[in-house]
C-alpha cells in the first residue's frame, strides 16, 4: 500500500502534465500566422480543390470541435495525417524512432561509463594538478553548442582525416537482411561514431560532476577512513567502497538525461544527416507541417515526462531515505 500510493499520485500528475502539453501544442500551431495549409495549397488549385483539401484535414470545423477531435484521436493513439506526406503521423514517427533511440542510448551509455569513472578518479585526485586541468575542460564541454561541436568533429575526423563518414546510417546503396545485421555491422558503427561522440562529449559532464561531488561526500564517511586505515589499495577503496555508494543519484540522473538528450538530437541529427525524429521535427516545423511537428513534439514530451517519473520512482524504491508516504 505504501509503495502503491506514490505511484498512483505520480501517474495522476503525469496525466495532468500530458494534457497541458497536448493543449499547448494544439493552440501553438493554430495561433501561427497564415493559413495552416498555405504551404500545401498550390496556387493553381481551383477554389473547390482548395476547399476539399481543407475539409480533408478537418480545418473547416470550429476550433473547439477540432480540439475535441484531436483529443479523442490521441486517446486512440491517432496522431492525424501529415500535411506534407499525406500519410499517418504515427506511422512515420515509429519508422524514425529506432534510429533516434539507438543514437540517444549509445551516446548516454558511453557518456555515463566515462563520466562515472572519470568523476570517481577526479574525486580521488582532489586538489591535484590533474583536477586543475580536467575540471575546466569538463565545464567547457558542457558549454559548447552541440551543432558547433558536431561541425568541428566532422571537419577533423571526416573532411580532413577521412576516418569516419559524414552522414547517414550506412554507405550509399548497402543492404542488410535485418535490423540486427545492420546495427552490428562495421559500416553502421562507423556512421554512428561521430554523432554518438558529439552527444557523448556534450552529456558526460553531468554524470562526471555529479559522481565527483558524491564521491567527495562519501570519501569523508567513516567506512572509507576505515578502509584506508586497513591499508586497502586505492582501486578497492574508490571502486568497491566509494563508487558503489556514490552511484545512486547518478543512475537516476540517467533517466532525466534521456529527455535532455532527445532535445540535443534535434541539432545533431541535422548536422550528421541522421534519419531520426529530431531531424524530422526540424523539417516539419520549417515546412509548416503542423500535424507532424505536433506529433514529434508530443513523442519527445512523452519520453521526457516518463523518464522524469522513472527517476522519481527509482529514488523511492532504491533510496530508503526518501519516502513519498
Amino acid at each position: 500500500m505504501s509503495t502503491l500510493k506514490p505511484v498512483l499520485s505520480r501517474t495522476f500528475q503525469l496525466i495532468l502534465v500530458l494534457w497541458a502539453v497536448v493543449t499547448i501544442l494544439f493552440l501553438m500551431f493554430r495561433l501561427m500566422p497564415g493559413n495552416p495549409l498555405a504551404a500545401y495549397i498550390d496556387p493553381t488549385f481551383t477554389l473547390e480543390q482548395q476547399e476539399a483539401l481543407i475539409r480533408q484535414f478537418g480545418l473547416d470545423e470550429s476550433l473547439l470541435r477540432q480540439y475535441f477531435t484531436y483529443l479523442g484521436n490521441l486517446l486512440q493513439g491517432e496522431l492525424g495525417y501529415s500535411f506534407r506526406y499525406r500519410t499517418p503521423v504515427a506511422e512515420r514517427i515509429w519508422l524514425l524512432l529506432p534510429n533516434t533511440l539507438i543514437l540517444t542510448f549509445s551516446s548516454l551509455i558511453v557518456a555515463y561509463i566515462f563520466g562515472i569513472l572519470a568523476g570517481a578518479w577526479l574525486a580521488w585526485r582532489r586538489a591535484s594538478r590533474a583536477e586543475a586541468f580536467a575540471l575546466p575542460i569538463v565545464l567547457a564541454t558542457r558549454a559548447m553548442p552541440e551543432f558547433w561541436l558536431g561541425m568541428v568533429l566532422l571537419a577533423i575526423f571526416s573532411f580532413s582525416l577521412g576516418i569516419f563518414p559524414a552522414g547517414g546510417t550506412r554507405s550509399a546503396g548497402t543492404e542488410y537482411e535485418s535490423l540486427w545485421s545492420l546495427y552490428t555491422s562495421a559500416d553502421f558503427l562507423s556512421h554512428l561514431a561521430l554523432p554518438m561522440l558529439t552527444l557523448a562529449i556534450y552529456s558526460q559532464g553531468l554524470p562526471l560532476l555529479l559522481m565527483r561531488s558524491n564521491m567527495l561526500d562519501v570519501m569523508k564517511e567513516d567506512f572509507v577512513t576505515m578502509a584506508k586505515v586497513k591499508g586497502l589499495s586505492p582501486y578497492t577503496i574508490v571502486i568497491k567502497h566509494g563508487a558503489r555508494n556514490a552511484l545512486l543519484p547518478v543512475m537516476t540522473s540517467f533517466a532525466i538525461s534521456v529527455g535532455y538528450q532527445l532535445q540535443g538530437n534535434v541539432v545533431v541529427e541535422s548536422v550528421f544527416s541522421w534519419p531520426g525524429l529530431g531531424r524530422e521535427l526540424v523539417s516539419a516545423v520549417s515546412a509548416s507541417d503542423y500535424p507532424l511537428a505536433q506529433g514529434a513534439f508530443l513523442m519527445i514530451a512523452v519520453v521526457v515526462i516518463l523518464m522524469n517519473l522513472i527517476a522519481d520512482l527509482l529514488y523511492t524504491f532504491l533510496d530508503p531515505r526518501i519516502s513519498h508516504a
Binding site: A39, P43, F159, G167, A172, S270, P275
Partner: protein, 551 residues
C-alpha cells in the same frame, strides 16, 4: 445636393490653387515592401534592402516588412488588393521551357481574379498577343509574338524583373567521363539526360547524388516537390521529353503528326515494357491521360486541360483532340504527363473514388513504371535507390542511381570530396565556397547554368501609384541590376528585364534586356516627366491624383 457638392468641390480646388503647389499635390503614402526573412532567403532579403535604399533616394517613404513564406503567400495571394510591393520568385521547371505558362498565366487579365496574375496586370493589347501565340503552331511566327509580348512587358513594367539565378552543380571527374555530362539549357547538369548518359570511368558504377529536401512521395500522379520529380522522371516514361536544347523531343512516341491545328496523332513505340514485365499498350497511354484529367490528380490536371478527347487507332496510335489549338501542347502536356500502367492503377483508383482522399495521398509500396530506371527501395529520410532498366530503349550507362538525403550543405560538400556522393545535385551554401573547394580538391568539376526561373519584385497594379506604368518604370529604373547580381547574388545570376530567360534562346528577346537603362538620374527624370514631384521632402502624385489609401 449635387450642385451644392459641385460648388463645394470647385471652391476647394480654387482654394488649393491659391494656397500654392503644396495643396495641389498629394504626397505618396508609406510604401510597404514585403520580403522573406534573411535566414530563409538571404539573396532576396539583401536585394530588397538595396531596392528600398534606392527608392528612398527618389523621395519615397519605404518600409520593408519581413515575414515567412506562409504568411507572405497568403497575404499576397488571397488579399489581392491589400499589399503594395513584394519580392517574388518563379522556379525553373522543364515544362517552363515553353514560354506559354509564364507569359500567359502571369499576365493575362483572365487570371487576375484568382489565378497566377496576382498583381492584377491588365492590358488588352497584351492579352491579344499572348492569346495569339497560344494558337500559332508555326514556330517562327510564334517566336515573333512571344518577343512582342516581352516588349510590351518591358514598356509597361508590371513587375520589376531582377535576375535569372545561376545554379551550380558539381561532379567527381575521376568517376564520371566529363563529356558524358549533359548540360540542359536552363536546367543545368542535374537532369534526366545526364542520368542516362553518365559513363563510368572506374568500377564505381553507382551515381550517388544528394538532396537537402526530404522525399515526400514517389507518385506519378502527384507533383510533390523538385527532388521527388527527379525520381518520377526516371521511373516513368512520357510520350515526349524536353531535350537538352529546351525543345521537346520524341520519347515513348515514335512519331507524331498534326492532322489539323486541334488534332495530333502519336504513334507509340512497340518495344516498351512495364517494370513488372507486362507490355506498354496504347490502352495504357489513353488511361494515363484520362486519369490525369479525371479529378484524382489535381496538380497534374492543368497540364491536360486542353485535351477534349483521347482515342486509340489500330494497335499503337493515340489521337488527341484539343478544345483549342495549343502551340505549347507537346511541351506542357505530352512531355509532362507520366505514363502509368492501367493494370496497377485501375483498382487503386476505383478504391480511391469512394474516399475523400485522391490519388495524391496514395503511396505505392513498389512503384511500377516503364522508365529507364526501376524502383529498388526507399529508406525514410536516408536514401532512395533505383537500378538501371537494361531493357529500356534508352538504357542508362550507370548501374544504379542513389539519392542521399543530406540536410547539411557543408556535409554534402565534404561527402563529394570523400566520395560518399559523386554528383552534387543540391548545394544550398555560397557558390564561391563550392568553387574554392573544387579548386582545392582537383578532382571536382563545377558547372553553373543560367536558370529558366527568375527573381522579381511584383508591383500591385491595382493600387495607386503602381497602376501608373510610368511610375512603375521609374521605380524599376532606379536600381542598377548589376548591383543586385553582385551584392545579393554574389555574381551567380544574370541581370534580367524579361520573364523569358536567356536560357530559352529561341524565345528570349535580347533587345529588351540590352535597351534597359537604369540609374537614379534616369529614374528621377522619368518621374519628373510623368508629373511626380517632391513636396516637403517626399515624392508626391502628379496634379489631380489623390492619395486614397493613406493611413
Amino acid at each position: 445636393m449635387k450642385t451644392l457638392f459641385k460648388l463645394a468641390s470647385t471652391s476647394l480646388v480654387g482654394m488649393a490653387l491659391l494656397a500654392g503647389p503644396t495643396w495641389a499635390q498629394d504626397q505618396i503614402r508609406t510604401i510597404h515592401l514585403l520580403s522573406r526573412p534573411q535566414a530563409a532567403q538571404p539573396a532576396e532579403f539583401q536585394a530588397v534592402q538595396l531596392i528600398a535604399q534606392e527608392w528612398r533616394k527618389l523621395g519615397l517613404d519605404v518600409e520593408v516588412d519581413v515575414m515567412p513564406w506562409e504568411q507572405m503567400s497568403s497575404a499576397v495571394w488571397y488579399d489581392r488588393d491589400k499589399w503594395d510591393v513584394t519580392a517574388w520568385q518563379m522556379t525553373g521547371r522543364p515544362e517552363r521551357s515553353d514560354p506559354d505558362e509564364i507569359i500567359y498565366n502571369l499576365f493575362h487579365s483572365s487570371t487576375a481574379e484568382s489565378g497566377y496574375n496576382f498583381i492584377g496586370y491588365s492590358n488588352p493589347e497584351y492579352d491579344a498577343v499572348v492569346e495569339k501565340q497560344r494558337v500559332t503552331i508555326d514556330p517562327a511566327e510564334r517566336q515573333k509574338l512571344v518577343r512582342q509580348a516581352q516588349e510590351i512587358l518591358a514598356k509597361d513594367q508590371p513587375n520589376m524583373m531582377l535576375v535569372h539565378p545561376e545554379q551550380a552543380f558539381a561532379f567527381d571527374k575521376n568517376i564520371w567521363e566529363e563529356d558524358s555530362v549533359v548540360n540542359q539549357s536552363g536546367i543545368g547538369i542535374r537532369n534526366t539526360w545526364t542520368w542516362l548518359s553518365l559513363a563510368p570511368k572506374t568500377d564505381q558504377k553507382d551515381i550517388i547524388v544528394n538532396s537537402s529536401d526530404n522525399v515526400i512521395a514517389v507518385n506519378p500522379l502527384y507533383i510533390s516537390g523538385v527532388t521527388d520529380s527527379f525520381i518520377t522522371e526516371l521511373l516513368y516514361d512520357r510520350l515526349f521529353r524536353v531535350g537538352p536544347d529546351g525543345l521537346p523531343t520524341e520519347w515513348a512516341a515514335e512519331t507524331f503528326e498534326w492532322r489539323d491545328d486541334k488534332t495530333i496523332a502519336v504513334t507509340i513505340r512497340s518495344d516498351m515494357m512495364w517494370h513488372d514485365g507486362k507490355p506498354v499498350t496504347a490502352e495504357d497511354v489513353k488511361f494515363s491521360y484520362e486519369t490525369t484529367t479525371g479529378g484524382e490528380a489535381p496538380m497534374y490536371a492543368p497540364f491536360g486541360q486542353s485535351i477534349s478527347s483521347v482515342e486509340i487507332e489500330g494497335d499503337n496510335v493515340v489521337v488527341f483532340t484539343l478544345t483549342n489549338p495549343s502551340a505549347s501542347f507537346i511541351t506542357s502536356s505530352l512531355a509532362k504527363i507520366n505514363l502509368i500502367p492501367k493494370h496497377v492503377w485501375e483498382p487503386i483508383l476505383a478504391d480511391l473514388a469512394t474516399k475523400e482522399e485522391n490519388a495524391e495521398s496514395y503511396q505505392e509500396e513498389m512503384p511500377i513504371g516503364s522508365g529507364p530506371y526501376k524502383f529498388d527501395r526507399w529508406l525514410t529520410n536516408e536514401e532512395i535507390v533505383l537500378s538501371a532498366n537494361s531493357g529500356h530503349f534508352n538504357a542508362p550507362q550507370a548501374e544504379r542511381w542513389i539519392l542521399r538525403l543530406v540536410p547539411n550543405a557543408e556535409a554534402a560538400l565534404g561527402m563529394l570530396r570523400s566520395g560518399e556522393i559523386n554528383f552534387l545535385t543540391d548545394f544550398a551554401g555560397d557558390p564561391q565556397v563550392l568553387i574554392d573547394a573544387a579548386e582545392a580538391d582537383g578532382d571536382i568539376e563545377v558547372v553553373s547554368t543560367v536558370d529558366i526561373g527568375f527573381r522579381y519584385v511584383a508591383f500591385n497594379n491595382r493600387r495607386a501609384p503602381f497602376d501608373d506604368p510610368a511610375f512603375r518604370s521609374a521605380l524599376s529604373s532606379a536600381v542598377d541590376r548589376r548591383l543586385i547580381v553582385k551584392a545579393a547574388f554574389k555574381g551567380f545570376a544574370v541581370a534580367s528585364n524579361s520573364v523569358v530567360s536567356p536560357a530559352l534562346e529561341f524565345w528570349h528577346d535580347k533587345a529588351v534586356v540590352e535597351n534597359f537603362k537604369a540609374g537614379p538620374d534616369i529614374a528621377k527624370s522619368m518621374l519628373d516627366e510623368a508629373g511626380y514631384t517632391i513636396v516637403d521632402g517626399r515624392l508626391a502624385y502628379p496634379e489631380g491624383v489623390k492619395e486614397t489609401l493613406g493611413e
